[in-house]
Structures are given as structure tokens and as C-alpha cells.
Amino acid sequence: MADPLFRPGERVRVLKAYPLGHVRTPYYVRGCTGTVERVLGPFPNPEELAQMRDGLPALPLYRVRFLQKDVWPDYAGSANDVLEVEIFQHWLEKI
């Protein structure tokens, strides 16, 4: 598999990209900045699997934690509330 580029605690930004096809990165976090909560291990790339290919080499999958107020500027709840989303490595960049 591809080597993990990020470690728990590192700050990352989700790419603000809008490719066609089957993508598991929700629209609402694209362009948002968060923190790697944990590395989940290698998983075949779902964008490739959806095209009937093998999705290999497997990509590191991360659980990224976002502060709600960094995702929704008008978020109404506590400033500490968070969202955690699984994101594949090729959707993340260092900041």
C-alpha cells in the first residue's frame, strides 16, 4: 500500500475538488481543515472499485476530526462540538 503521510494529531486540509464519479469524501468537508484522529489502515480506493478496477495499491484511510464551527461558520451548538469523517489519503494535504 501507499505509505501513510500523516500522523495522529497532524493538521490536514481536505482538497476542494469536485471530480466526477463515486467519491466517499462528503461535499461539506471539502476545503475544511481538521486534525488526524487516527490512522485506520490501508483500504482499496473506492473511486477505482466503483469503476470495476481493483483499487490497488490500497490507500491509507484516516479519521479526521473537524471542529463544527470550522465546517459550518454559523454552527449553533458548543464551540467544542466536533465531527469525525473517514477520508482517504489522496484527499488530504498538509498545512
Binding site: L61, V71, W72, V82, L83, I87
Partner: protein, 199 residues
């Protein structure tokens, strides 16, 4: 009047399912009986397995540690067969309340909790749970204090999530079986909390 007699042509996906099923049977890969048995098993699966896991974690701190470290292994330890399920258990504490959603589709730990409730698959829940979780939880009758952090988990890829709720006060000395009986499906999704004798 209930609508029981109206003829409706098969939808695109229904037709695809029938076609695939008939082909698999025709080629001898599965039998009609096997398919029917599997459908029945899926329909009958409830959330009892999840409740059992939670109750064990409540009475056995070492088991709880293993459950939080590797949910899949800890379930297998109880003899639960959960093929293909990569389970992540997230723990509620006095400081953090967890809740699960799948915004992209309806990913759900079916092997532990059975078939997801209709509301879990609704557009309303899926779109609002990540955007205004406190308002959604309030609609379920769960009012979470501002001092408690809400952590919403969107199962967007390969993991499945289950909430480990807090053991309610006043349930000391209860047997594991009795504890399991108060662990509701909704409390393992995170839209409710188990009710103890004092609630």
C-alpha cells in the same frame, strides 16, 4: 384505504436484483432456498448482539479496553460472527456524547444492530445530524448539556460505528443480562441514552 392491489412495474433496481438472482440460481451458484434463508436471517436480526457487547463492557473493564481498541476482535471474543465488519466503538463519557450517521448512504453495523430504522436512512436525519446535531437530538427527546461535547461520526468509508453508552446510575449489582435489557438500539446509535431505575 390501504393500497394492496395496485399493479406497479418493477423499478430499474428491482429488475436488476431479480435478473441477478435468477442468473445466480440458474448457474447453480446459490439456491432459492439459501437466498430465502439469508433474507429471513437478515430480517430477524435485531440489536440484541449490540446490547450484549455493551453490557459486557459495563461489567468488565478489561473487556471494555479491548472493545475500544479493536471492536471487531472484541465481538469475536464473545462468539459473535461479524464477517467483514470493521467496527469502531466510541465511548460516551460525562464530557463527550457520540452519535452516528452516514451522510452518503446508510452505512450501519447491521451484524450487531440489525436492519437500520427508517429514520436513519432518511434525508432529514442524514443531512441535519452533521449540521445541527443538538437540534436533532432534542427532537429525539435527548437534551445534551452545553458543557458536553457532541462528537458526530459520519461513516463515510470502510468502518462501522457503535456508541458505547454510559451505564446509568442505580444499576449497580445488576446481572449482565439485566443490563443488556436496558441497552436500546437508539442508545447505540447515540440518539438516546439507556434509562436506569432512577430515570
Amino acid at each position: 384505504m390501504s393500497d394492496t392491489g395496485t399493479y406497479r412495474p418493477l423499478s430499474y433496481f428491482q429488475l436488476m436484483e431479480v435478473t441477478l438472482r435468477e442468473l445466480l440460481v440458474e448457474k447453480g451458484l446459490v439456491t432459492e432456498e439459501e437466498i430465502a434463508a439469508e433474507v429471513e436471517a437478515m430480517r430477524n436480526r435485531g440489536y440484541e448482539r449490540g446490547s450484549r457487547v455493551v453490557a459486557r463492557a459495563w461489567v468488565d473493564p478489561e473487556y471494555k479496553k479491548r472493545l475500544l481498541a479493536d471492536g471487531t476482535k472484541a465481538c469475536e471474543e464473545l462468539g459473535l460472527e461479524i464477517p467483514g465488519l470493521r467496527l469502531l466503538v466510541v465511548e460516551n463519557t460525562p464530557e463527550v456524547h457520540n452519535a452516528i450517521v452516514c451522510t452518503l448512504c446508510s452505512c450501519y453495523p447491521r451484524m450487531l444492530l440489525g436492519i437500520p430504522p427508517d429514520w436513519y436512512k432518511s434525508r432529514n436525519y442524514r443531512s441535519r445530524m452533521v449540521r445541527e446535531p443538538r437540534a436533532v437530538l432534542a427532537e429525539f427527546g435527548l437534551h445534551v448539556s452545553e458543557n458536553v461535547t457532541i462528537r458526530v461520526h459520519d461513516s463515510t468509508a470502510d468502518m462501522r460505528y457503535m456508541v458505547l453508552p454510559m451505564r446509568p446510575a442505580g444499576a449497580d449489582g445488576w446481572s449482565e443480562e439485566r443490563l443488556a435489557s436496558i441497552v436500546s438500539r437508539d442508545s447505540m446509535i447515540g440518539v438516546a441514552v439507556p434509562k436506569g431505575p432512577n430515570d
